[in-house]
């Protein structure tokens, strides 16, 4: 597989997993399992970091003049990354909120 394409898939796989974990954290909190919920967010952040590093590769290539061809796949990877970031903030807030309501 070509370089940029591979980086995109690494981003999508990592941040996609992270995003999924953030949503699972909300599900845990909804059931009153707050420790599990917070652990889920922490683990999600660790996986997200892998995607962030892959994304840095793209940025590095761009800055070094090795401009990646803009494809739908790159846009999708960026989109997934931003979505995961947003879900991290929301999941953290939701866990706190459920804790207030249920405890």
């Amino acid at each position: 597989m070509e370089g940029t394409e591979l980086i995109c898939f690494q981003i999508i796989a990592s941040v996609g997993t992270a995003r999924s974990m953030y949503i699972e954290a909300i599900h845990e909190a909804k059931e009153g399992r707050f420790e599990e919920a917070r652990r889920m967010i922490e683990n999600g952040e660790k996986v997200f970091l892998d995607g962030h590093h892959a994304h840095l590769e793209l940025l590095k290539n761009d800055v070094l003049g090795n401009k990646p061809e803009i494809s739908i796949l790159i846009v999708h990877a960026e989109d997934q990354l931003m979505s995961a970031e947003g879900f991290n903030i929301l999941a953290t807030e939701f866990v706190d909120l459920y804790e207030k309501i249920l405890k």
């Binding site: 597989m1 591979l6 796989a13 996609g16 974990m21 996986v47 796949l73 997934q80």
Partner: protein, 99 residues
């Protein structure tokens, strides 16, 4: 012929994995249908599937899918395999689960 259904958030990145899996299936001589669907469109694909594979983006809906389709084989695609677009690894996994 086995019907393998892949599901991810938009059905887009998974489509590329499908093409890699189909290429490997052809080399291996394994007869199957493989297609990718978005999670929102999954209801039309799952009833006829022999196995459903979920992408890492929709891992959180595994329990929901298993509850909705209790008799279906529903599994997760390994994140590393997904990130490397390892069509061979994913197809071998599906064949193993199908038995």
């Amino acid at each position: 012929m086995k019907n393998i259904v892949l599901i991810c958030a938009a059905g887009m990145s998974t489509s590329l994995l499908v093409s890699k899996m189909l290429k490997y299936a052809k080399e291996k001589g394994y007869e199957c249908e493989i297609a990718a669907y978005a999670a929102v469109d999954s209801a039309r694909a799952i009833p006829t599937a022999d196995i459903v594979l979920l992408g890492p983006q929709v891992k959180y809906s595994l329990a929901k899918f298993r509850t909705t389709y209790p008799t279906k084989k529903i599994e997760l695609i390994d994140m590393m395999m997904y990130g490397m677009m390892d069509g061979k690894g994913v197809l071998d996994f599906a064949i193993k689960v199908l038995g």
